[in-house]
């Protein structure tokens, strides 16, 4: 079932949603599009995607866990878990929505990560179809359809009109809560929009890029000579990992402020020399090994452990942000990850 706004403006729709729960959406800033809480006067970004990915909502860069306060012989333990209230995220693109599914496999599998789970449960995700995909986009390489981005509610803007299609129970409940703003829409409009977007995606320069199934070639991929050459120019910084919507590695650290200890979780990067550093030593001594780890994880290990699902969603952020333009597309092309269908 698809609905459209009953003639009201987008901002009226946002105001209504925000009157009930906190609403986050991409807005334009001097430094690119960013997810911000909607307040009166803020408008939806015109950009295709945000600088930082939407994973921040569920897996923030820094998450306080517990504080230890020392007073005399006593240690006071302060739980830093904050109450999470229901919220709505509008304007998540197909790539980031697909990335949630990747993160879910990590954080919601057997040992559920409660910090992640409570935020994920509190969120209603409204995706937005990509009317104007960019040349750095390659979500289709991983079977992601930017014309049908998923989430709890799938939204699209067709000639400035907003269409909403609920996909989950949460999505149905959301639509129900604003039913008076909606009218039934013609599915033909949605189908035509999907076809238009698909046609645009087929013409993108990376449209023919397809990852190879390397699940049976773990060892030979690991031992490929390509890694040494590819990693030569890698600076060993964490830009790619930190703008990536699927990178999920973290570290738990204690920060001694002098009068208390703050235990927090923070993003980690396999590019860093102290990544997985253990008491004895670090299993990866050199940058080529660290570099290899990142791409083996996304293109080989993750699919091996997750029914063939890749750890990349083709959002293109690393293509834009790597200081030396060394990115997963170049890696896929080198390690036999390309099947040109044309």
């Amino acid at each position: 079932m698809t609905y459209k706004l009953n003639g009201i403006q987008l901002n009226e729709f946002f105001a209504r949603v925000a009157s009930d729960k906190k609403l986050y959406l991409p807005v334009d800033t001097e430094n690119g599009a960013r997810f911000e809480e909607w307040t009166e006067g803020k408008t939806l970004s015109s950009k295709l995607n945000t600088v930082r990915s939407a994973k921040d909502f569920f897996f923030p860069q820094v998450q306080g866990i517990v504080d230890f306060k020392l007073e005399g012989k006593n240690i006071e333990v302060i739980d830093r878990r904050e109450e999470v209230k229901d919220f709505v995220v509008f304007g998540v693109r197909a790539c980031d929505a697909a990335a949630f599914a990747v993160l879910d496999r990590v954080f919601l599998s057997e040992h559920v990560d409660s910090f992640y789970a409570e935020k994920r449960n509190a969120a209603t995700v409204i995706t937005l179809a990509c009317s104007n995909p960019e040349e750095t986009c390659f979500c289709s390489s991983f079977g992601i359809d930017a014309s049908a981005p998923g989430g709890d509610v799938e939204a699209r803007l067709v000639e400035d009109a907003l269409y909403l299609s609920p996909l989950t129970e949460k999505g149905e409940a959301f639509v129900e809560s604003i039913k008076d703003l909606l009218v039934s829409a013609d599915d033909a409009v949605v189908e035509a929009d999907k076809a238009l977007i698909k046609a645009k995606i087929a013409k993108l320069p990376l449209a023919s890029l397809k990852p190879a199934d390397l699940r049976d070639k773990q060892l030979e991929t690991f031992e490929s000579e390509a890694w040494a050459e590819l990693s030569q120019s890698c600076l060993g910084c964490g830009s790619c990992t930190f703008v990536c919507p699927t990178c999920q590695c973290y570290d738990i650290r204690d920060f001694d402020t002098g009068h208390e200890v703050k235990r927090f979780r923070c993003w980690d990067s396999c590019m860093y020399s102290d990544f997985t550093l253990m008491a004895a030593e670090n299993p990866r001594h050199t940058q080529p090994e660290r570099f290899r780890q990142r791409f083996m994880h996304k293109l080989v290990y993750f699919p091996m452990n997750n029914d063939g699902v890749y750890g990349c969603v083709g959002c293109g952020r690393c293509l834009k942000k790597c200081p030396v333009s060394l990115n997963i597309v170049k890696v896929m092309k080198r390690i036999g990850g390309v099947k040109n269908e044309q």
């Binding site: 860069q61 120019s233 600076l235 060993g236 930190f242 920060f255 402020t257 927090f264 923070c266 550093l277």
Partner: protein, 323 residues
Amino acid sequence: MQKVMLERAKALLSDGTVRAVLAWEKGDFAYDTTPAVFNSAERLEKGFVYSPFCGANLSKYLIKETQKEGKILVFLKPCDTYSFNQLVSEHRIKRENVYVVGVECKGMLDIEKIREKGVTSLISASWEGEQVRLVTADGEILADSSELMQERCLCCKSKKHVAYDELLGEEGEVLDSNRFDEVARLEAMSAKERFEFWRGELSRCIRCNACRNVCPACSCEKCIFDNPDSGVQNKAAADPFEENLFHVIRAFHVAGRCTDCGECSRVCPEHIPLHLLNRKFIKDINELYGEFQAGETELPREPLTEYKADDVEPGVVYERGAE
């Protein structure tokens, strides 16, 4: 220029002068060039590129490359040669293992500025006097270069090659740059305004360390912030103030050695104007100790490491902020 460079690289490789060539390699688009070590004429033929998107400063790669046996050819743009000299003076590059070919630079373009103009499907960009010709899949655009250049190139300090074994083109001259204008604007702020400006800018830091890792002045074998034994290792900060200090400490550490190559700001995924911290130090050094440009020579008189009896006492000269 690209053709001349390619021929020269192939010639020096084939006559054995150099064992490899450190240059830029083309990517999937016009703008995604990557620094690369080419070890054969075939690879050079296939991937070598020199375009207005070759902003990456190659000098830092020489730390690793000159440890290897034999000479490596490196192409350096004028501003890269300052970093090169500085690294030589710090004994980080083995000068005898490198053959520097200086190449002209008319300024490098900022792909994000080009995207902002709505240009897509870029095939190539080339200089035409003060303008840039952008060839796209939909046609050609002639644009004013000042609108598309990287910030550091808009206030270029020097077109002079200060280190080379061979030049392709002119030696170039030091320019009259307005690069301190923005610093002066920050200096004119009240302490509170300035504090808020930097807190705001630095609040976007994601601690990816790209600024540090690309910086030719940041060449420590092990950064104190990566060292678990240092007691100040921080992967991410527990509180944002600590995060801000990372950048301030880094700026202090490279003071007097930073050549103002601008790589820190070029690579910042969050567009934090980190170069302004360094430029403030450079401006202060100029004002307190006389004009000094790090990397201008291989054996510099370094104001912060050289003591003179009549050195100023900066604490006396400068008041601590306006309020």
